[in-house]
Symmetry: C3
Subunit: 307 residues, 3 copies
Amino acid sequence: MRHLLSPLDLSVEETDQLLSLASDIEKNRSKYAHVCDGKKLATLFFEPSTRTRLSFESAMLSLGGSVLGVSSADSSSAAKGESVSDTIRVISCYADICAMRHPKEGSAYVAASKSSIPVINAGDGGHQHPTQTLTDLLTIKSLKGHLGDMTVGLCGDLKFGRTVHSLIHALVRYPGIRFVLISPPELKVPDYIKENVLDANHIPYRETTNLDDAMEELDILYMTRVQRERFFNEEDYIRMKDCYILDQEKMKLAKPDMFVLHPLPRVNEISVEVDDDPRAAYFKQAQYGVYVRMALIMTLLEVEKPC
Amino acid sequence: MRHLLSPLDLSVEETDQLLSLASDIEKNRSKYAHVCDGKKLATLFFEPSTRTRLSFESAMLSLGGSVLGVSSADSSSAAKGESVSDTIRVISCYADICAMRHPKEGSAYVAASKSSIPVINAGDGGHQHPTQTLTDLLTIKSLKGHLGDMTVGLCGDLKFGRTVHSLIHALVRYPGIRFVLISPPELKVPDYIKENVLDANHIPYRETTNLDDAMEELDILYMTRVQRERFFNEEDYIRMKDCYILDQEKMKLAKPDMFVLHPLPRVNEISVEVDDDPRAAYFKQAQYGVYVRMALIMTLLEVEKPC
Amino acid sequence: MRHLLSPLDLSVEETDQLLSLASDIEKNRSKYAHVCDGKKLATLFFEPSTRTRLSFESAMLSLGGSVLGVSSADSSSAAKGESVSDTIRVISCYADICAMRHPKEGSAYVAASKSSIPVINAGDGGHQHPTQTLTDLLTIKSLKGHLGDMTVGLCGDLKFGRTVHSLIHALVRYPGIRFVLISPPELKVPDYIKENVLDANHIPYRETTNLDDAMEELDILYMTRVQRERFFNEEDYIRMKDCYILDQEKMKLAKPDMFVLHPLPRVNEISVEVDDDPRAAYFKQAQYGVYVRMALIMTLLEVEKPC
């Protein structure tokens, strides 16, 4: 039995298979409408996350399966002091597969060790969120036609943003990747990632504080939110935040086939005027998130691909 | 693509078609059990409303579709500062149709403008609640056999009650409607409705503070709650509230084919002894609410009526 | 129309039929995958209980039906002051069967009296929880092959624990049952149960404060939690709690075919080292809970057993 706990649980080859399946699902949705008939997904969200939860639910329903679950810690047995180990053993009696979000780091690993059904880590305490990474990969591959040989700009909070860290880990496995790391000095990619992931894999990259300068060389721009509370003082925040707001003025500097991604929700780091630009791909990304989760559920449940 | 944002979005002809479809659904439920197979309804209730949410969910499930959703603002991306525009664009990737309740007036309109799936306004900030009005129309038509040529009593809080205002707007489109407006002086129908809707359409009506006096002339009595907090002082409330409590004593004054409606929940404005009177139609009304929502979902999804 | 409000609503013969159906479901799950197609279960949990709610939902989904519901009091009409009587009459329009948990004793009875669909009491204010008792009976019968002629140890809080009281009521209806009642002196089975249930039915039992002493004579050990707040003072709690923690040391004293049950969630009254013992049956019990609820839903909906 397989789980998905970390973005790197799947080998490059397995990831490629998964993304291929997701692409086939996108092109032939009706073919997959009943492959999970009679299967049940449990969505255990001990920390609320509407977007991620609904994406999983939409995926399972689109495969013909059904869904049961918990959408907040309040209405859960966790409130009565039950351990994650016990919870997952009970849920194993109720469902065929489980997507779990938990505020405590490592919870998904503990759950998987005691589970008799596949566990998908849907986020554990800021640590891992592997289906976001798979969503990002599918989006890039679908838009660009391939996953290597491109310059990827990562912009915003590169210090604390877990989606950015996971994406770096995932992309360095493909040939010809180059990064431009765009952030305020306070929010740069941590050294341990630069050393152990980028340098160790001989990945070229450059760091800059200026989004404008980077625009024209990018094939993908991955935007993230710069949270006010990350700054030491209000003046720094106000001085810098505008540099990291993507607007049509900045988009004019970019290639015609450059695409903008964002894990959402956005607050103001992408101006709404960009939404109508054909290169704005962040809402398509939400759609790809459903396809990749459909492929993942099928893979972990070992459901045959229909012919 | 059509949305339903206001009770008057549908023309009289379209409304009649919808009510006819709802009546056919009532008579032939099994015929409709699979017309929405594979379709997904998102119920986005950023303000809780069990009754309305469950009515939509029951409707979609009865058509063979499935449901995903949010039942409170707490467990939603809204808590992270996401705009309604962004939320609906993401939900458009997850579902085929959306029923949305939001505390802010105009939210449903904003959502519809950005949505790529039909949006049903399930209530926005005390402003509009069109499926309640459609429910009321279906109930009246089913009980009386037609929608015009009757005297309709509206009783209770006629000043703030949005269901009453919407029902007035909807009924004046049918010929031969006459209203009796029964309320305390403080809670009368606002002048702008009397002038712009009743007078402008030459609709006969009379106003009274006395429910007893009105009973015998009514074909329909639409009861609403008089909320204590609407009164300036406690004595006024206590003095007047009993005049607006419907009991069997008052029912004796009514015609044998008069029907009582109420949007529910009721608190004490209809005595429970009235529940067993065959003219009490407020629980049937809840059932009609499911049928009309089934018809609405089919209509907005452009699902063919089965033969 | 039948409801299930109290564990004793079903006669011994009806209970046997239900348990037989549940056993057949366990052995032939796929045979039952569509027997409730098109049927809707409403789960009305005005008091949260993830485990019980999800067990009902899993049961209905496994029968091919669908689910709608409320998982907390906050998001419910109850917050607007609606009576249980009115709520169930509306829910009767939305669903075919209802499982209800409510903090107020007697709520399920009130609901059933006004309902036009079968009502299952899923817990009302510490009073009754009949599907737990049916789960316990199915677990014992499945593990031991029969329900009478055995010594059942009940351990922990025997004073306030409603599951224990219900289980006593249910088991005395089978021949050859003997109880060992294991608890601190403060938490003994109340006299009215000893007199009216045990003595009145000539059921042999003994009381002890020592779990170790009881182990070797038991065929079933039913563990429950000893809540700290039940004790008058902290010293008493600390002095006694260890006597009621089941560990491998104590398991060595038990028969090889003795089974341990627990209604869950557990906190620390069963050491996790016991989980791997083949006699630990508390997670299997959760699985039996789904089967028995499947059988119950079928029975109350009068669904034909498939051939």
